[in-house]
Structure formats: structure tokens, C-alpha cells
């Protein structure tokens, strides 16, 4: 398999058991993917474990990739996020939470600016900006930093039930905004 091949072709080769294709994906994507796992776990060793698990899942599940359902990069990122979230759950989500980069609402506008790089991101940003601020913060903290409902509630100093319903409402609103 040619390591320069498009990502969907590499994933198809991985499904056929091609280890070099898996290595090519690792070489090409691991920096981005390790960043995603690190943001969730805030611990390099744990993030390395998550990326390890994610690549084993990728090897096992490559045949489930369906390009009609979304881009290959997003699909890979999803596998890594779920591997990191599973690890976070196994660890009781006891990650260091005094990380200065994870923080206060002040971080949020900068977080959203990174969405402006492409059209789909700009649409998502526009929709996120129609949400109540706390609903938006909850969604961002959960997606990017892997916070549970309880951790979002603690961080935003709101009752757990309130946070849960804000996030749900926010999701449904996002969905209709993006439709």
C-alpha cells in the first residue's frame, strides 16, 4: 500500500490486514490524534495508552468505516476520542483538573476561533454562538476535555440536573441549527 494514498484507501487496506497502511496512518495522523487524546486525559502517559488502544480498534474495525457517513479524519478522531473517554471512565475521570489551559470561560473564544479554518467549522461556530453561554461551555468542555456531567457542573458551579438539561437542550438546538 502506498503511504501517500488518500486516507479512505489506507483505511480500506487496513481492513484487509495491511500493517504498513496502519503505520502510514499513524505517521500521518498521530500528532493530531495524540493532541485530541491529551486534551481529554491531560496526561501524556494516559494519552499514549489511549492512542495505543485506538489503533488496535482501528485495526479491528477498519471495515466499518463508511465514507458516506463522514470524512475519514473525523472518523479516526472519533475512535481516538472514544478510546480516551473509555480510559477516562476507567480511571474514574480522576484527571488533573487544575490545568491552566483547561479553564475558565476566558479560554472559550480562543477555542471557537480554531473552528474558522473551514466552512463546516464556521457553521458549527455560528450555531454554537446561538446557544446559552453555559450550555455552549458545557458542550465544549465535554467534547474537547472529556468532562463528565458532574465535572462540568463542578466547573461551572451549577447543579448537576441543570447542567444535564442545558447540555441536552443545547444539543437539540445545535441539531436543528445545523439541519
Amino acid at each position: 500500500m502506498d503511504g501517500e494514498a488518500p486516507l479512505p484507501a489506507l483505511i480500506e487496506a487496513i481492513a484487509a490486514g495491511d500493517r504498513l497502511a496502519l503505520r502510514a496512518v499513524y505517521m500521518r495522523e498521530s500528532t493530531r490524534l495524540f493532541g485530541i487524546a491529551t486534551a481529554i486525559l491531560r496526561d501524556r502517559d494516559a494519552a499514549a495508552d489511549a492512542l495505543h488502544d485506538a489503533f488496535l480498534r482501528l485495526a479491528a474495525r477498519a471495515r466499518q468505516f463508511d465514507p458516506a457517513r463522514g470524512a475519514a479524519e473525523a472518523w479516526l478522531g472519533g475512535i481516538v476520542r472514544h478510546a480516551a473517554l473509555d480510559l477516562a471512565r476507567r480511571r474514574g475521570r480522576e484527571m488533573p483538573s487544575d490545568d491552566p489551559t483547561l479553564g475558565d470561560a476566558a479560554v472559550e473564544p480562543a477555542m471557537l476561533e480554531t473552528l474558522d479554518a473551514e466552512a463546516q467549522g464556521r457553521r458549527l461556530r455560528a450555531c454554537l454562538e446561538t446557544l446559552e453561554p453555559r450550555s455552549r461551555e458545557g458542550i465544549l468542555l465535554a467534547f474537547v476535555h472529556g468532562l463528565s456531567h458532574a465535572e462540568v457542573a463542578a466547573r461551572l458551579a451549577e447543579p448537576l440536573g441543570t447542567i444535564k438539561s442545558w447540555i441536552r437542550r443545547g444539543l437539540l438546538r445545535l441539531r436543528s441549527c445545523l439541519a
Binding site: P6, F55, L56, P67, A68, I167
Partner: protein
């Protein structure tokens, strides 16, 4: 009008929470198991992954520790190799990769030009004899799904049986019994091919279902499939 979410919104919110990662381990596993049997839920999870995918970029890239690839490679070496796929000659292989690339291009096009041309979605609400909504029915090429809107269990000594009557047909086809305590029912498309105008009905039958293979008891709920508009 009430603000209560519809069953369809409930399902979407659950899929969204799964993708967001806020569900605890038990509920996350339950969603994963349900996805294997519920194509509509799996599709909604995939839709949420796509909707929120731009947020993946918010995490700054970071180089993994050296040696991680070797560790992955070692772990895979111990695992059983993937089952072999049917062999194809090079021509087919090239065609197949080309098709993937075309499909990927198509997927990109769909991302920037929503909504995607999904296969036809059908739906109806089954009403009681008093015109009260009782079941939300969604159907597509994969089958039919019912979600209880206002669950009323059948009498102890009776069963609820689900039927479909294609347009023009005179004899309904049994789609099976409604589980006594289930809030939702899924019927695969192998039993019936949903089409617009198809009547969906639920009758009251003896325990175990109609002995004749045709409805014998009164109709409890009925509705007709029609194309779903918007989403």
C-alpha cells in the same frame, strides 16, 4: 404546546450525549450495544460525530512519545490476524480504491452541501380509536421502528400484534408481537419492505399472537406511512 421532547429528539439527544462523552460507562456501553441492533440510532450517532467533528481541531496537535508505534505494532503482533477478505485481482483493487476516493469526495461534498440525499424516510403516528397518538413509527430501507408515545400495556391475558398492509394488498403481514414492557420495537426490512401508503396497525390478540396468521381481534392503533418531511 408543551416543550416535551419527542421520542425522536430523545434518541438524538442520547446519541449526542454519547458522542459528547458525558454518559457514564454503563450508559455508554448500552448505547454501543443498542447501535448494533438499531440502525437509526447508529445513523444518529454517526450524524453527531460528523456535526461535532470540527471541534476535534480545538485540541492542539502534540507529538506522541517515541516508541508508541512499536508498542502498537507489538500488541497487534500478538493478536490474531484479521480474517482474510476475498481475493481480488489488481483491476478490482484499483477500482475499489478509486471508488473509495470518489465516495470520500462525495462525502466531502455532502458535508459542505447539506442536507444529504438520504434514502426515503417514512413515518406515521398510530392513533387510538379516539384519535389519540400512541406510537411514533419511522421506516426506511432498513426496516420499521416504533416508539411508544403513551405506553398502555395490553390486558394481562392478551397480546398486541403488529401488522403491515401494503397499498393494494388485502391481507396484512404480521410483523410480530409488541413486547409487553418495551417502549420501542424494531422490525428489520427482511420481514416487510416499507413503502408510502402502507397501513401499520396493532391489534389485540390471544397470548402468543393470532392463531390464524391474520388479525382476529380489534384494531387498537392504526396509521399510514407517508414520506417524512424535513428533520
Amino acid at each position: 404546546m408543551s416543550d416535551r421532547p419527542t421520542p425522536e429528539e430523545e434518541r438524538s439527544a442520547l446519541a449526542g450525549e454519547y458522542v459528547l462523552g458525558t454518559l457514564d460507562a454503563r450508559r455508554a456501553r448500552a448505547v454501543e450495544r443498542a447501535m448494533a441492533e438499531d440502525p437509526a440510532l447508529a445513523a444518529e450517532v454517526a450524524a453527531w460525530e460528523a456535526r461535532l467533528a470540527p471541534l476535534q481541531r480545538v485540541a492542539p496537535p502534540e507529538a506522541p512519545p517515541p516508541g508508541l508505534w512499536d508498542r502498537i505494532n507489538d500488541s497487534l503482533g500478538e493478536a490474531r490476524p484479521a480474517p482474510p477478505r476475498p481475493r481480488r485481482d489488481w483491476l478490482w483493487k484499483g477500482w475499489s480504491f478509486g471508488a473509495s476516493a470518489v465516495a470520500a469526495g462525495l462525502a466531502l461534498l455532502l458535508l459542505v452541501r447539506p442536507p444529504a440525499p438520504a434514502p426515503e424516510r417514512l413515518m406515521t403516528v398510530l392513533l387510538t380509536s379516539r384519535e389519540q397518538p400512541a406510537w411514533l413509527v419511522e421506516a426506511g430501507p432498513e426496516g420499521i421502528r416504533l416508539a411508544a408515545l403513551n405506553r398502555q400495556p395490553a390486558p394481562e391475558d392478551r397480546a398486541l400484534q403488529l401488522w403491515a398492509l401494503p397499498p393494494g394488498a388485502t391481507v396484512p403481514v404480521s410483523l410480530g408481537l409488541i413486547p409487553r414492557d418495551g417502549g420501542s420495537v424494531a422490525v428489520s426490512a427482511t420481514a416487510i419492505r416499507p413503502e408510502p401508503g402502507m397501513l401499520i396497525e396493532i391489534t389485540l390478540e390471544p397470548p402468543g399472537g393470532s392463531p390464524t396468521g391474520r388479525p382476529t381481534g380489534p384494531i387498537q392503533f392504526i396509521g399510514r406511512l407517508a414520506p417524512a418531511r424535513g428533520s
